[in-house]
């Protein structure tokens, strides 16, 4: 009864290309966004913003990036954290070394673009190398990034290990002073991240429903056929790398600026790449919304689990045990999910929705 589709028809191709063909979806999305923008900052405590919402947004951005590359274009990557690293460091350096008028979003875009270019460089081998062989290239990116910033302390402003990010970096065109708002407050950071992530998600969505997106998927599904019908396979791959790494870069920047508030190399170790890979797998390869579902689950799962552990067993176990059990369940979850539904959470959600739409009928 929720999905009332009767009487929804389009009288032009523009209309037929709407983001949300079913009115209900449109309303749901609208309400959700309004809630996120206006209600959440008011009701959410700093803890919630700082420890849940902001990191989820940051991760989500990177996950989306990886999904564009692996899910949409079928190019496997283990270098996500590496690219995030580039993004974060460049943003910091741009903010640090550029004049007053420079501001964070712009810096992120610039840094993201640079990261994108680096991504393209590491993506070049994909011209000749296919499938798992490509892992080597992305891994190279991962380790190269870490090594690079470790060996050139210049980029860390000659700090040891980490630098704390100064608050004045957050000020946008002096809005802060003008209205006496604390732009470094969690609310501000949250809204900033939300804005950026929403914009990027929308961009990705548009991209995927236009010819570029179709080219991505074509290359993923059958690259010979793609080249035969005149899709520039190489360019498409490179573009995928660029866009993906742009997103990862921005994600990295958000991760440091909005979430950790410190910049350091150890943030972007190999296992971060895996974390994000899981987010994408669990969320659903090839689904934009899925990237975020996955992020929420993967990020919240250990927290919930340890919380449940403490709550139920009154801290009977030490954290190490809980972590390990979490890991075990986690591994099982992934395998189970792949067996039950290779499409991930996104696919599960779609089947559920389909069920709603066709109820009382099976199909």
């Amino acid at each position: 009864m929720i999905y009332r589709e009767t009487g929804t028809f389009s009288t032009s191709y523009i209309e037929d290309r709407k983001l949300f063909p079913i009115p209900f979806d449109k309303w749901a999305m609208g309400v959700f966004l309004l809630f996120m923008v206006f209600v959440v900052p008011l009701i959410a405590s700093d803890y919630w913003l700082a420890a849940h919402l902001i990191p989820i947004l940051a991760y989500g951005c990177a996950a989306l990036g990886l999904n564009l590359l692996t899910g949409m274009t079928g190019q496997l990557s283990l270098g996500t954290a590496g690219f995030m690293c580039f993004g974060a460091f460049f943003t910091f350096n741009i903010m640090l070394r550029s004049p007053e008028w420079m501001n964070l979003p712009l810096a992120m875009v610039l840094a993201g673009s640079v990261t994108g270019v680096i991504g393209v460089i590491f993506g070049l081998p994909s011209i000749r190398i296919k499938g798992f062989y490509l892992l080597v290239s992305t891994l190279a990116a991962q380790y190269f990034a870490l090594w690079f910033f470790r060996s050139y302390p210049y980029f860390l402003n000659y700090a040891t290990a980490t630098v704390t990010l100064p608050d004045h970096h957050f000020d946008l065109f002096g809005i802060g002073d003008a209205f006496g708002v604390d732009m470094a407050s969690f609310e501000a950071k949250y809204l900033l991240s939300l804005g950026i992530v929403c914009a990027l998600a929308l961009f990705a969505k548009n991209l995927m429903r236009s010819s570029t997106g179709r080219n991505f998927m074509a290359v993923r599904d059958m690259d010979i056929a793609a080249s035969v019908i005149g899709i520039p396979v190489i360019r498409t791959k490179m573009l995928a790398f660029f866009v993906s790494c742009f997103y990862c870069g921005v994600g990295g920047a958000l991760f440091c600026y909005a979430y950790l508030q410190v910049l350091g190399i150890r943030t972007f170790e190999m296992n971060r790449s895996f974390e994000i890979l899981f987010m994408v797998i669990i969320g659903g390869l090839g689904s934009i919304a899925g990237s975020f579902y996955g992020t929420v689950l993967v990020y919240e799962f250990p927290i919930l689990f340890s919380w449940a552990g403490d709550y139920l067993l009154g801290g009977a176990f030490d954290t190490a045990v809980v972590d390990n059990v979490a890991k075990i369940l986690y591994g099982i979850l992934i395998i189970a999910l792949l067996i039950r539904e290779p499409g991930g959470l996104a696919a599960l959600w779609l089947t559920a929705k389909q069920k709603l739409r066709t109820w009382p009928f099976p199909h």
Binding site: V136, Y143, V228, A320, L329, G331, I334, L338
Partner: protein, 313 residues
């Protein structure tokens, strides 16, 4: 300055040795990839698991051989379980999701091994066992670093030992593949699952077998690695190290794995010392091996020994 030849040769030998270590890990990969086209990411954690199990057993003052036997048994059981609960249900799914599954498996094992045993770092005095187990009769400790006069270089006997082990293992496997019936069917499976099933090869059994064998290899590799880098999470990284090795070798060939191992081993050392000096930075070896691999792959996209597929449309 004049070129230090001895040092150079030592470097090469050392490189070769670590190459052997890599190939030890790599073989496990190749085995599974050959038989089921799966890129088994869990290899590293399997190493860890095996080594850890063994260590804890021996720490529990179990006799060396018993411990070894028990661990082997464990790995076999493990292999069977994996086949039953992971491979079979995933039988006809995309290679990507199979790969993902192994990644999941990796976490599972990691968590498990650290849950069952603890996550502390263990040193493994394999040496002691080896001494009293097999080398006392000859009365010498493995770890005496020997001086080979005709080459006048220093060389670690343990590396030699490792090399021997690796060599024998490769031989065994080669024989296994070429001669035994199971081995043959295994190769058949790798070539074409459906066809193999059609001629009545029990796919599931073959896979179970492969995973079991891989488990055993993991054990051996694990022990040898553990000797150099203590038994801890770093073992998992060994896999990532082995990655370029396999890829150079070309995923499907065991000799490939060996050659790849040697190339990377040597290349890394060379890069570290000479290129490092050139650039005036340390630690390039963290990524240098991948670059070597890349260079090779750019010229031979499916590895040195990998089979080139003709694209039929």
């Amino acid at each position: 300055m004049d070129f230090d030849w001895v040092f150079f040769i030592e470097l090469i030998v050392g490189g070769l040795m670590s190459g052997v270590m890599y190939s030890l890990v790599a073989i496990g990969f190749v085995l599974i990839y050959k038989s089921s086209g799966i890129f088994n990411f869990a290899q590293g954690t399997m190493l860890l698991f095996a080594a850890l199990t063994f260590v804890k057993l021996t720490e529990g003052s179990v006799n060396f051989w018993v411990a070894l036997a028990v661990t082997m048994a464990t790995m076999v059981v493990f292999g069977i379980l994996v086949e039953r609960f992971m491979m079979r249900p995933l039988a006809n799914q995309s290679l990507l999701s199979l790969f993902m599954a192994t990644v999941g498996l990796a976490i599972l094992i990691e968590g498990m091994s650290q849950y069952i045993w603890d996550s502390a770092i263990h040193g493994l005095q394999l040496a002691d066992f080896l001494d009293l187990a097999l080398l006392d009769p000859v009365n010498m400790t493995v770890f005496v670093v020997d001086y080979i006069d005709w080459l006048d270089i220093l060389i670690s006997k343990f590396d030699v030992f490792a090399t021997i082990v690796a060599g024998t293992m490769i031989l065994v496997l080669a024989v296994f593949f070429q001669k035994t019936r199971t081995g043959m069917s295994l190769r058949a499976v790798s070539d074409d699952h459906l066809a193999a099933m059609a001629v009545g090869i029990p796919l599931s059994r073959v896979w179970a077998l492969v995973w079991a064998v891989t488990g055993i290899i993991a054990l051996i590799a694990g022990l040898l690695w553990a000797e150099r880098v203590s038994v801890s999470f770093t073992l998992v990284e060994a896999v990532l190290k082995a990655l370029p090795v396999i890829l150079i070798g070309g995923l499907t060939s065991i000799p490939g794995a060996i050659v790849g191992g040697l190339i990377i081993g040597v290349g890394e050392k060379m890069g570290e010392i000479y290129l490092g000096d050139l650039m005036g930075v340390q630690g390039i070896e963290t990524w240098f091996s991948y670059f070597i691999a890349l260079v090779f792959l750019l010229f031979k996209p499916s590895g040195l020994f990998g089979l080139k597929a003709i694209e039929r449309v």
